[in-house]
């Protein structure tokens, strides 16, 4: 045969060495998408809880509450005003406001009822102090100032509450991260199982590749690519559903209490990066898991 008798090779690229496996891939796609959705919700929830806690603790840490106790032969309202005036002179204090008796009555109303508090019942009054920055004025500084002025006062920096809120936020974050780790582990296990099943179903292809001189890493790379794409697509679907759910939650106007636990959509960089990275992470987890499973399986052959 002469050279000009040889027909030209077919045009186009080479076919995929691993045949399509839609029947097996579809359920895996759904499971992976659900896992990524749950992971995104957990991450958004953790982020929301942490942000809310930050807001709360920041509020608490920039506020001091001074309680002016009524003393016999003393005008407690004048004492409260004097305390506010004194505190306002300190550097680092943005504002000091003396609250009147009506404010104090409103505070105790849940226990004593409203409108039936005797006028001669001595009630402590409050001075609310707003600091320019958290910790710009210490409790002892204010306490010393008021003690020196002869006022019966006690100062509270809400430290106990701030600590409790921080603990709750930290717990929520740990819980969300644990959930994230569990979901990632579950996704990796599901993909490893699917990769092994795919390998077993394609033993004819693997044998042909092996006997043609394919190295283990060549075969593992084929599976890695396939499962990366599957993870990427499933991750994209899961992240998009998570965005929809968080948008629904945000537009639902849920109460502040509920908002602490629910994922809420915002366009801040964290949410955008997290939802953008989630499909890539899903693809990478899927690819790595498939590669490890296939490599382990291939090592068992000769």
């Amino acid at each position: 045969m002469t050279t000009h008798d040889i027909p030209p090779p077919p045009k186009g690229g080479s076919g995929a060495l691993l045949p399509p496996d839609a029947g097996r891939d579809r359920p895996l796609f759904v499971v992976a998408a659900i896992l990524v959705f749950l992971a995104c919700i957990a991450a958004l929830g953790a982020r929301g809880a942490w942000q809310q806690a930050e807001n709360w603790t920041s509020d608490l840490e920039t506020n001091l509450t001074v309680q002016i106790r009524p003393v016999i032969d003393s005008d407690v309202e004048a004492d409260a005003q004097q305390a506010a005036d004194l505190i306002a002179t300190l550097d680092g204090v943005e504002q000091a406001t003396a609250r009147d008796r009506a404010y104090a009555e409103a505070l105790v109303a849940p226990w004593l009822g409203s409108g039936n508090i005797p006028e001669d019942l001595p009630l402590p009054l409050l001075v609310q102090v707003r600091l320019s920055t958290p910790g710009s004025v210490s409790v002892s500084q204010v306490q010393t100032l008021l003690d020196n002025a002869g006022l019966a006062a006690s100062v509270d920096d809400h430290g106990q509450w701030a600590q409790a809120v921080r603990r709750a936020a930290s717990f929520a974050r740990t819980l969300a991260l644990s959930l994230l780790a569990l979901l990632t582990g579950a996704a990796a296990a599901v993909v490893a199982f699917a990769a092994r099943a795919s390998l077993a179903a394609r033993v004819d292809v693997i044998d042909a590749l092996h006997l043609s001189g394919a190295e283990d890493r060549f075969i593992a790379t084929l599976f890695q690519r396939r499962f990366f794409m599957l993870g990427l697509k499933a991750g994209t679907a899961g992240a998009l559903i998570a965005v929809l759910v968080s948008l629904l939650v945000s537009s639902g106007g849920s109460s502040a209490d509920m908002a602490f636990f629910l994922p809420r959509w915002s366009t801040n960089p964290f949410e955008l990066i997290m939802l953008g990275v989630a499909p890539l992470l899903a693809g990478a987890t899927s690819a790595l898991s498939a590669r490890l499973a296939v490599s382990t399986d291939l090592r068992g052959r000769w």
Partner: protein, 279 residues
């Protein structure tokens, strides 16, 4: 059947060269079962053409698996190109496999790939680019008479065409050893003859060929050594030209009826021992 293949058509192997594959007291069993191959010791000289025959269940497929590195022996040593198989690392195995081409009786083509991609498989797994090998693959397919079927799916081809695709795949990377497991088992006698010619051509180009077949008529066409397996034992019969040396009177001795009868017994396995299926 056409009988026009002359002994001179075969390549003359070099007896001085190191054998490409050497078996030394090899035994093989599956799991805890009985040995399916026992005490096999032989050399495959470089450039030789060997027939492998034997009845069903004699262990031909098992022996071929050992030769093309799809199975490990239970005992004994096998050397490939001077390397003891037991000392091969996992990374070295593919390098050895690339020097051995295999044609399976059942073809084992990948039906999701085109004929072209099936044939190109051994080149593709080495990482070569399509542009580098496309012309070579097309030329080879034209050589085996499938130049117009390059884009076809294997399932649409006849048995003979599929077998030629399998042969093209086995030889595309120019292996030093070519193993053929019943390559004529699924084709008619005319196609069998054409396929045998193809293997002879490859042997003439220097490829060591092991041709497993049940077909004694094909075996008789060539003056090649015949390895006969029976109940796991191997008997190697030298080529006719070496068996029937010219006597002093100058006349060549002819095979007698007794040897034909022995050959028939070996092929059918009717030697009193129980046969088992090939595995």
């Amino acid at each position: 059947m056409e009988t026009s293949i002359e002994p001179s058509h075969l390549n003359t192997p070099s007896s001085a060269a190191e054998p490409v594959i050497r078996f030394d007291n090899v035994g093989m069993r599956y799991g805890r079962g009985p040995e399916v191959l026992r005490d096999l010791s032989f050399d495959l000289p470089r450039g030789s053409f060997q027939f492998l025959t034997g009845p069903s269940g004699a262990g031909k497929t098992s022996l071929l698996k050992l030769i093309y590195l799809a199975a490990k022996p239970s005992r004994g040593t096998i050397s490939y190109f001077g390397r003891d198989a037991a000392g091969l690392t996992r990374d070295e195995l593919p390098q050895i496999r690339r020097r051995v081409g295999v044609v399976f009786q059942e073809f084992r083509l990948l039906n999701h790939l085109t004929v072209f991609d099936n044939v190109a498989l051994p080149l593709r797994v080495t990482g070569r680019k399509r542009a580098d090998y496309a012309e070579d693959v097309a030329e080879l397919l034209a050589w085996v008479g499938l130049g117009d079927k390059m884009s076809a799916q294997p399932a649409t081809l006849s048995g003979g065409e599929q077998q030629r695709v399998a042969i093209a795949r086995a030889v595309v990377a120019q292996p030093e050893v070519l193993i053929a497991d019943e390559p004529t088992g699924n084709v008619d006698s005319e196609m069998a003859m054409r396929l045998l010619r193809l293997f002879v051509e490859l042997n003439k180009l220097g490829t060591t060929v092991v041709f497993a077949t049940h077909d004694l008529q094909l075996v008789r066409l060539l003056d090649a050594p015949v390895m006969t397996l029976s109940n796991g034992h191997l008997h190697i019969r030298p080529p006719r030209s070496q068996r029937y040396q010219a006597p002093a009177n100058g006349q060549t001795e002819q095979p007698d009826a007794e040897e034909d009868a022995q050959e028939a017994v070996a092929m059918t396995g009717e030697d009193g021992e129980e046969n088992r299926d090939d595995t």
